[in-house]
């Protein structure tokens, strides 16, 4: 019984079942505050109702942290999925997909009207890539050393352990399909090339 609610900073005190998962990163408070201030509508959570021993409670089962950035003139105005996380009890139910679709719905129309949605995923995380492909995402480019500790300088030195795929999904505003491509896996870039 999933309901969607706006994320509030106090929710950080209740996200342990989600953030203790080794796949989910926890950041400093400033990071969350920045998203809540800059893109308040693009940060939301899913909640579940449970009842044990007649005590009804709502718990956070997942959340979506998104933003909109880039220049329209450069065809870079887009929605970015910064984090989408789901509590392990509520996986394989399509919840992550639902959170992604909700973000897409919120940004494809006014006031955002972005050209595409994108996200970064580890090259080795094939499970997540499959999920995003099902949702209509495709690889746009490979970001060499995205998850590495140092900034790489050579985009030809690929390393599956620290490289990411930048995956994109077209939104209706890009009528000419200029922001996606079919051979994305053959395009390597450096992390410094993907800042907006």
């Amino acid at each position: 019984m999933t309901s969607i609610k706006p994320f509030q900073i106090e929710d950080l005190l209740d996200v342990n079942p989600v953030n203790l998962d080794p796949l989910t990163e926890s950041y400093n408070v400033q990071f969350y505050l920045e998203y809540l201030i800059q893109w308040p509508t693009l940060f939301f959570k899913s909640t579940e109702i449970s009842d044990f021993a007649n005590v009804e409670k709502r718990e956070i089962s997942g959340y979506m942290m998104g933003k909109a950035e880039g220049q329209l003139a450069k065809k870079e105005w887009h929605t970015h999925i910064t984090a989408v996380s789901v509590n392990s009890y509520y996986r394989r139910l399509g919840l992550a997909s639902h959170l992604c679709s909700e973000l897409e719905r919120l940004t494809k129309g006014p006031p955002y009207e972005t050209l595409f949605v994108d996200l970064f995923v580890k090259v080795t995380n094939t499970l997540a890539q499959q999920l995003y492909e099902k949702l209509g995402y495709s690889v746009y480019r490979r970001v060499v050393g995205y998850y590495g500790r140092t900034l790489p300088t050579d985009s030809s030195k690929i390393d599956d352990k620290i490289d990411a795929f930048d995956m994109r999904k077209l939104l209706p505003r890009d009528v000419n399909r200029e922001t996606v491509r079919a051979d994305g896996k053959n395009h390597n870039v450096l992390p410094q090339d993907v800042t907006f």
Binding site: M1, T2, S3, I4, K5, P6, Q8, I9, E10, L12, L13, D14, N16, P17, N19, L20, D21, P22, L23, S26, Y27, N28, V29, Q30, Y32, L33, E34, L36, I37, P40, T41, F44, E48, I49, S50, D51, F52, A53, V55, S88, Y89, Y90, R91, R92, L93, G94, H98, S101, E102, R105, G109, P110, P111, L127
Partner: protein, 782 residues
């Protein structure tokens, strides 16, 4: 601020008082009419501990009603340090009344923001909007501040006052047109209307709003229609959101079902509509059950249908438990037998079995515990091939069955049984290192038997960091023993609070500037929760204890000063403490609630009050203040709630402390002899053995070690001398040094093993535990 001005402040903050005094004297001579330097002089006096002089000079300056923002800020700080927040605010109120400039009021507002002071924010925002009447942004801000105060759970305002503030906020905005306003403006207005129960106005505004409703507004709209019982409108809106917009939200399903029933649509029509939802989801299937419940129709068949479709999902047990159906235990047992009889091993079957075991534990009145435990292990082993196949980051669901076994086994709380369960959990983690639920329980068990280094190791392995410390640090902080490594761990945790304070300060201010009102209420509340956090206080007090035992005087002074800032609240017993600890996640597995938990002491507000009074008593030598503090210490120690917040041995050590404080922090009296006798009688190893045993013994010895340090510190500063007490303290210190008390615990766990875990793995874990116990022994601090 000039360079010299900055050097004066820096000299004061660094304790270079002579330098500060000489620099300041020159300034006061050159600018005798500049209120700022007189305010700095007050600050110098406070820092020198000359509180009475500082207060009298600050009051004199306050009477002159200064208007220089720097002077006001400094004077505000002085009054705060003197524990007079009302006076601190009054200097701004007076200045604003006498010199009502927008800049000055804005300074006042920003100061309130930086202090997360919701009441003053409202006052300053009101003053500013009054000063610039008609300014939409300022009116909006003032209205939000009224709303924030009315909704505040921490400001202790009456219901009547809350209504007044809501009405005032609404009145500030009544002349504005919101149909084309921003979503943030509409949010503030609608929330005020909601507080004033004006749902009609909300519905009217949101139905005609020209922009797109964001999630906050959409939820407000649905709620307003529901409250107004506008069932047809609610039905159409909910239907549109669910079927056209694809907003698959269970609360919206509930609105749809409620509206359906109240518009006299019959049950069949409602179920038909639900079944039309594409794709059929967990929410829509649960909506069918919800509809049956609301229409008062049988739910069991629908629940069985849900079970059929979702038994292989981990949410199945939780979802079905919510509806409390007639137990279908035969069906459960039948499914379990079928799966176990089959040679197929896949994740779906395993999850079904995990769910089934939870149902069996909940519903089977005659559950054979041993058979249940054995069945859980059998499932764990049968599906073990999945461990090799699964993606590293995916949890092995059968671990949960073993967690249920551990909880059942914890009815026996002996050290050897805890070690046995630790061996089991280590075995699970060896096969599946990413399962955080296993690791969380493991760390809890380690902490309960004094294996600090292993508890901390697992805390760090869980990558608990930043804001997670606030809700989870209690898992280790309280049971840690004072070693240098642990002190460093605690300091690292404390750093989170220091950086969060700064980050929140900046962000609250920025959110006001950017008018992000639908997040600001939570921003301020979160800031207050962290500022007055119970975990933060417990951490601080533990840090002080560690520094004292480990003779780290620099950190001891630093952390003690923080407690001193709360002197007034502690003396008056009015310290605000908010509890944000998470006690749920640790036990969120199996067929909750898990009841066989280990008996742990849960610190609370009274503990913080008691510990702060203790620290202040150690530092304070003024008998007027110590008498007041001893009264608070005694009151906290005798409060009903404190008993669950202290271990048995702590109740004893706090009594020792009370006697010590009465002896050294009050003028000598007839009582002195009796106090000395009590201490001499208790400061014996034999007595320690009576008040503590098991894991508590090691902790008790640390308490006694700290007591000795406190005795050494405060007996030096006071004229009272007692040779027998001095001798008793020296004797007990020697006795502790020579004793082998905790060796007993080590022998208790020799040869412990666990069924289903290879012998060599068990021996390895036992050796690891023994090493950790030795590392956290009191002997390390002697």
């Amino acid at each position: 601020m000039s360079e010299t001005d900055a050097s004066i402040l820096s000299a004061i903050d660094q304790g270079q008082f002579s330098l500060a005094q000489s620099l300041l004297s020159r300034k006061l001579k050159k600018f005798p009419n500049k209120s700022y330097y007189w305010a700095v002089n007050c600050y110098l006096l406070v820092s020198l501990g000359k509180h009475e002089e500082a207060l009298s000079q600050s009051n004199a300056l306050k009477e002159k009603v200064p208007s220089d923002p720097h002077a006001l800020e400094m004077l505000y700080k002085v009054f705060e340090l003197l524990g007079r927040p009302k006076d601190a605010n009054m200097i701004y109120e007076n200045a604003v009344k006498k010199y009502p400039s927008a800049d000055l009021i804005e300074c006042w507002f920003q100061l309130a923001v930086s202090k997360f002071d919701i009441k003053t924010m409202q006052k300053a925002a009101m003053a500013l909007q009054k000063h610039k009447k008609g300014d939409r942004k300022l009116a909006m801000r003032a209205a939000f501040c009224c709303l924030n105060l009315a909704l505040s759970k921490v400001c202790k305002i009456t219901e009547k006052e809350a209504t007044l503030y809501s009405n005032l906020g609404e009145k500030l905005l009544e002349l504005f047109d919101f149909v084309s306003g921003s979503t943030q403006e509409v949010y503030v207005y609608c929330k005020l209307l909601k507080n004033n129960e004006k749902y009609q106005e909300i519905a009217l505004l949101l139905s005609s709003y020209e922009g797109t409703l964001d999630l906050d507004l959409q939820l407000l709209y649905l709620d307003a229609l529901d409250k107004l019982e506008k069932w047809e409108e609610l039905y159409l809106l909910a239907k549109k959101l669910l079927f056209e917009v694809q907003f698959n939200d269970f609360d919206t399903w509930k609105y749809l079902i409620r509206a359906s029933k109240n518009t006299s649509r019959d049950y069949v029509e409602c179920q038909d509509l639900i079944s039309l939802h594409r794709p059929s989801t967990r929410n829509s299937q649960l909506a069918a059950i919800e509809a049956a419940k609301l229409y008062e129709k049988p739910v069991d068949a629908l629940i069985l249908n849900y079970y059929k479709n979702f038994s292989s999902k981990l949410c199945c047990y939780t979802d079905i438990s919510y509806y409390q159906p007639t137990p279908f235990i035969d069906k459960i047992k039948e499914t379990t037998s079928e799966i176990l009889a089959s040679s197929k091993v896949n994740t779906a079957s395993l999850i079904t079995l995990v769910n089934n075991q939870k149902f069996i534990q909940t519903w089977d009145d005659k559950l054979d515990k041993l058979a249940f435990i054995a069945a859980n292990w059998a499932i764990y082993h049968k599906f073990q091939p999945l461990l090799a196949e699964k993606v590293e980051t995916d949890a092995y669901s059968a671990n949960e069955l073993i967690l249920m076994n551990v909880v059942l086994s914890l009815e026996d709380k002996s050290a050897s049984n805890i070690v046995k369960n630790i061996i089991t959990l280590e075995h699970l983690l060896d096969k599946d290192p990413q399962d955080f639920k296993v690791r969380l329980l493991l760390l809890h068990l380690y902490a309960s038997i004094n294996c600090d280094s292993l508890a901390v190791h697992n805390y760090n392995k869980l990558r608990i960091k930043m804001f997670q410390h606030e809700s989870l640090s209690h898992l280790i902080v309280d049971s840690m023993t004072p070693t240098k490594a642990n002190l460093q761990e605690l300091i690292n945790i404390y750093r989170f609070y220091l950086s969060a304070d700064g980050e929140l300060n900046e962000s609250v201010s920025l959110a006001f500037e950017k008018e992000v009102y639908n997040k600001l209420e939570s921003f301020t509340l979160f800031s207050i929760k962290l500022k007055n956090s119970l975990s933060r206080y417990v951490l601080l007090l533990q840090l002080i204890k560690f520094c004292r035992i480990l003779n780290d005087h620099q950190y001891l002074n630093y952390f003690s000063r923080i407690v001193q800032e709360h002197e007034l609240e502690v003396s008056e017993g009015s310290l605000d403490v908010l509890d944000n600890r998470d006690y749920t996640t640790l036990w969120s597995f199996g067929s909750q609630p898990n009841t066989s938990k280990l008996p742990t002491v849960k610190r609370g507000k009274e503990y913080v009050q008691l510990m702060c009074a203790k620290e202040l008593l150690i530092l304070e030598n003024d008998f007027t203040k110590t008498t007041k503090l001893i009264k608070q210490f005694n009151k906290a120690l005798n409060s009903e709630k404190i008993h669950d917040q202290l271990a048995q041995h702590e109740q004893w050590t706090f009594k020792l402390l009370l006697n010590l404080f009465k002896l050294f922090k009050q003028p000598p009296s007839k009582e002195s002899e009796a106090l000395v006798n009590f201490l001499v009688k208790n400061l014996k190893l034999e007595k320690i053995k009576l008040v503590a045993s098991g894991a508590g013994l090691n902790r008790c010895l640390f308490e006694v070690l700290e007591f000795i340090k406190i005795y050494e510190q405060i007996s030096r500063r006071n004229g009272f001398k007692s040779e027998i007490l001095l001798k008793a303290v020296a004797n007990v210190a020697q006795e502790i040094k020579n004793s082998k008390l905790t060796d007993l615990t080590l022998s208790e766990i020799d040869n412990v093993s666990a069924d289903d875990v290879p012998r060599e793995s068990a021996t390895e874990v036992v050796e690891m535990i023994k090493k950790s116990l030795k590392e956290s022994s009191y002997k390390k601090c002697i």
